[in-house]
């Protein structure tokens, strides 16, 4: 059995080199990396990502260099000539089991430090609390008002003008502010998001803040973070929720606490 293979070996080499160059060129030219960062914990996530990228990048290049080199170098002539007899080597195998294990465990231990900061630490008592109630296909954003408490809601009370079914007989509900698709949060101040849904599962995704958490009907989920950059950002839905999933657009506005309070009082008057 004869098989030509010079060309295949060469193509592997070329494809690998050209692909690598194209990748690097693209990264430099278009800089498609992360969106501008706007939260405190996001820095940790980005660092973890970059370090993982470097480590996996090295592994990727090393393994591919070997793969490509072997395919290029060890072409047989198909005449039944023997290859090198090398069925196993315990020492090598132990090494390449343990080394990846150690690297990987180091990565996740580091990752868990950040995970604990994000999820296992209680948000401070003075955190700015906002509730987001997802629905097909919009975000109802509720601020608790001066009393700092959300009023009762009841799905039976839902109407067009009362999208989350706020129970106005509850005193705590009196000063609640509900707006559509506009999430305003204070600069450099911890924020606690409380997420719910009226219908199906949605997912609040704030790409600039490295925040994502599902809004699940029947329960309340939370995510706390600290915005660090002033400005206007996107709020997207990241869990398939129906035909309008792709256009469930919201806005995030980060502004200093004083300005935000002014805005809130304006809203209260309008409500």
């Amino acid at each position: 059995m004869k098989t030509s293979g010079r060309l295949d070996g060469l193509l592997f080499v070329l494809f690998f080199i050209i692909g690598l160059i194209a990748c690097i060129w693209y990264l430099i030219r278009h800089d498609p990396g992360f969106l501008p960062l706007a939260s405190e914990h996001g820095g940790f996530i980005d660092n973890l990502f970059v370090v993982t990228l470097i480590i996996t990048g090295i592994v990727f290049i090393l393994t591919h260099v070997l793969l490509v080199f072997f395919t290029f170098r060890y072409k047989g002539n198909g005449n039944g000539e023997k290859a090198f007899w090398y069925p196993d080597n315990k020492k090598l195998e132990i090494i390449w089991t343990i080394v990846p294990a150690v690297i990987i465990v180091a990565l996740i231990v580091w990752g868990q430090v950040g995970w604990a900061k994000i999820f296992h630490t209680n948000p401070p008592d003075d955190a700015f609390v906002v509730e987001i109630v997802g629905e097909q296909f919009a975000w109802n954003i509720r601020y608790p008002g001066e009393d700092g408490e959300f009023g009762r809601t009841n799905p039976e009370l839902i109407t067009r003008t009362n999208p989350i079914g706020l129970d106005r007989t509850d005193p705590a509900a009196e000063d609640d502010i509900v707006v559509l698709n506009e999430l305003r949060v204070p600069l450099d101040h911890p924020v606690l998001l409380k997420l719910r849904s009226k219908d199906v599962i949605h997912s609040v995704f704030l790409p600039n803040f490295r925040v994502k958490m599902d809004a699940v009907p029947g329960m309340t989920t939370t995510f706390s973070f600290k915005p660090t950059v002033e400005g206007e950002f996107d709020l997207l839905c990241a869990e398939l929720c129906g035909l309008g999933h792709y256009r469930m657009r919201g806005y995030v506005v980060v502004q200093p606490m004083e300005e935000l309070e002014v805005w809130l009082s304006e809203q209260r008057e309008m409500n």
Binding site: M1, T3, G9, Y26, H30, P32, F34, L35, F44, F49, T52, L53, T56, V59, L67, F70, T71, Y74, G76, N77, K82, A83, F84, W85, P87, D88, N89, L92, W96, P100, I104, V105, L107, I108, G111, Q112, G114, W115, I118, F119, H120, P155, D199, V200, I201, F205, P207, R210, K212, D214, G218, M219, D234, L236, A238, L240, G242, L243, Y246, R247
Partner: protein
Amino acid sequence: MASEHAVGTVEHHKETFISKYVFSYDHKMIGKQYMITALVWALIGMALSWIMRIQLAYPAEQMPWLETVLGRYAEGGILAPEYYLAMMTMHGTIMVFFVLTAGLIGTFGNFLIPLQIGARDMAFPFINMLSYWTFFLASVIMLLSFFVESGPAAAGWTVYPPLSAIAAAIPGSGAGQTLWLLSIGVFIVSSLFGSLNYIVTVLNMRTKGMTMGRMPLTVWAIFIAAILGLLAFPVLLSGAIMLLLDKNLATSFFIPAGLYIGGELLSYEGGSPILWQHIFWFFGHPEVYIVALPALGICSEVIATYARKPLFGYKAMVASLLAIAFLSFIVWGHHMFVSGMNPFLGSVFVLTTILIAVPSAVKVFNWLATLWRGKLHFTPAMLFAIGLVSLFITGGLTGIFLGNAPIDIQLHDTYFVVAHFHFVMGAAALFGIFAGIYHWFPKMYGRMMNNTMGKLHFWLTFIGIYLIFFPMHFMGTTGVPRRYYAFTEFEYTMQYGGMNEFITIAALITGAAQIIFLINFFGSMYLGKKAERNPWNATSLEWTTDDPMPGHGNWKGEIPMVYRGPHQFSTPEGKEDYVMQSDNTGFEGLEREN
């Protein structure tokens, strides 16, 4: 038992067309039936991906021909969002269940296990036949759902309730979703029949000398995948039954109280959407390996054969398969880091998930060591196996990002995930199928496939896959969400307009390249060069059959005995560069006993 089968004569019942080609009991015919059915499904799945890709590249552009092709799905020449989601759901479902599960384990499990372990047929040929025809029934039901009024299921292949349970939430969750659940239910029964057969055959029907430790790696991989299937699919069945009841008989397993959908308050009580996710992914992650393991097994065997080297670290390869299989049952939560699941649980799942990377890494290094100082023969099968290694590395490494929970906060449900699973599960498993077909085609049809066309097919597909899916990593890193009908609503997703066009063109060309394969495949069945008995000078038992294309019963005479392990290439003492498992050199004195 083995003795009975070792010399047993083949039952000769009269073969009619029906008994030979339709309700055949012959494991080889059943394997081929699986293969052909899966190929048809692959074409449908690919066509669906084309429709999606065209929409993503040219959103809101009127294409009258689209209406001609798709009818009510694309009124006015624009694919409607609800039907984009339906195409996506059906694409994922078809690819995962019908192409990669049925197409891999169904084809090669049936065709190879008896041939490679030295048995005349599967343990239960009748159940085997039933297994194929229940799969066929599942296929028909799934196909029917394209024709119901409200369209096929559209809640994603993960069918998360409440979206999947309530017709008012999305049209596909009406009759389409019901048919989807029924089809999957029937498919589970089919897969159960298959798994039973594979496991019992491997444990009970091996020829003399074929210890577990001498089985070719393909058989090992299929055996382990079958165990996974046996234990994982019933869990999906439980979920499917509950979802069906929620959908159609108003129970509240998964659907909470107080839902307000389509302007109406629904009367469900206290169900838990997250419960579904736990059930689904408890099945879903092992499913990924039900798909992947047979491909990895085929890859190992093909690489050893065409590198003319013993598979490096055979024991470690088996051990890593077992480790992956075991771990796959305790990692499901990595799909749920931001689902509202308790973050402490998330920490546990991070650990188990990342552990799976270790046996995967071992596999890659062992493949590389097998290639080292080999005498490589670049057949299409070998190329696809090498390609698989590359794709598996790429997809495996991106898994290290996703498995580390903090990074997954940003990457979850973005195109990074789409890229990841298309590499590690989609393309890698597909390459396993291709490698297997090119390698075993001579045994299946007694003829050779065309080498040049095979290579062309490989290069177009391999490069194409990278062009389609690699750029998606960039999109995902930036935070472009998946399951989006269009990227027109946000500035930062719009910046990828050009890239999306590029991906679509690559997808169309790569898809078109599959025509080369189809021509080669069907053409070679009739026109290919007649194959020799052992065209690749391979070592396993299937290449010892008397005819290149064995009939029912596999061996005309006695089933060969096995004297040594698999993949014995270039042994120092062998005369040639391969020693077949049935080669009795050194054991000449040993007579068969019975």
